[in-house]
């Protein structure tokens, strides 16, 4: 009997652990649902081993849920949710492990350097605060810096859009592949 209790709590603990990427409230609810399922099935007389087998490994079950929330997260506009979905995706598919970091780094890197170039250009025009002003200002160089900066920001944003599209596509592909084996 204690062995059964151990197997049950071990399963739930591992399931909870595999849900680490989700919010605390979702996590608690999902664990409660599976705990309830196991208790009902045991009461109905099913052997624990069979019950757990039909649920799949804790990790696989958690991934089933993760793919579900992934798909609804990728519809989100918030960059944070998209990046979070992207991070989750890298734990699930090999190609994402390559594509996601490249797009995230490109997107952030281009936006940041673009902003810096624009700021440098503004400083060069003598428009910035006193302390960052470069003298003597070269008008053409400063304007070029601003133009290049804006272009670079654009490329960064495009990479961001690319990331969102990729995550959305990959999440759907994963769902098709996993939801029903």
């Amino acid at each position: 009997m204690t062995e059964q209790t151990d197997a049950r709590s071990d399963y739930l603990q591992r399931f909870d652990h595999s849900l680490a990427q989700m919010g605390a409230a979702d996590r608690m609810e999902l664990v409660a649902e599976i705990r309830s399922h196991i208790a009902e099935a045991e009461q109905a007389g099913s052997p624990l081993e069979g019950i757990l087998e039909r649920l799949g490994t804790p990790d696989r079950l958690a991934r089933g849920y993760a793919v579900t929330s992934l798909v609804s997260n990728t519809q989100a506009r918030s960059p944070i949710r998209v990046v979070r979905a992207a991070a989750l995706l890298t734990t699930m598919s090999l190609s994402s492990l390559l594509v996601v970091p490249v797009l995230v780094v490109t997107s952030l890197g281009f936006v940041v350097s673009g902003v810096l170039a624009v700021l440098a250009g503004i400083a060069g025009l003598g428009l910035g605060p006193e302390t960052v002003r470069i003298s003597p200002p070269t008008y053409a160089g400063a304007m070029a810096a601003i133009a290049v900066g804006v272009g670079v920001i654009g490329v960064g944003l495009l990479a961001g859009l690319g990331l969102r599209a990729y995550v959305s596509w990959a999440a759907r592909a994963l769902r098709t592949a996993r939801l029903l084996n």
Binding site: H37, A177, L179
Partner: protein, 117 residues
């Protein structure tokens, strides 16, 4: 694209997924049911090829899509149960899925009938 075993499996999975959604919504159309009851009823229906481990995430997705809503209720015999029931959107979805399903079956029968005979 070449038609191979993988594409056949994917086609079958997609077909079953859509049908399973219809079955879940249909199963709670009359009255709310709790997770275990609902999931084992579906898993016991062999042609659906649904196992517990895939039905639970599906329930979650239907909830996130706003088709079903849940409430926790105490049980006299164990931990609390989560009851699933249709939202008004879910009810509308069920109606249109039922229509599509009937039309599809009728259409397929028209041709499949000849082939069987």
């Amino acid at each position: 694209m070449v038609w191979n075993e993988d594409s056949a499996a994917e086609w079958a999975a997609q077909l079953r997924r859509g049908v399973l959604e219809l079955c879940v919504l249909g199963a709670i159309a009359e009255e709310p049911r709790y997770g275990y009851e609902l999931v084992t009823a579906l898993a016991a229906t062999a042609p659906l090829a649904a196992v517990e481990g895939t039905v639970y995430p599906l329930l979650r997705r239907l909830k996130q899509a706003g088709l079903v809503e849940t409430t926790w209720r105490e049980s006299t015999s164990g931990p609390p149960r989560q009851y699933y029931r249709l939202t008004p959107i879910g009810r509308r979805a069920l109606r249109s899925m039922r229509t599509s399903w009937r039309d599809l079956v009728q259409g397929v029968d028209t041709f499949a009938g000849e082939m069987v005979g």
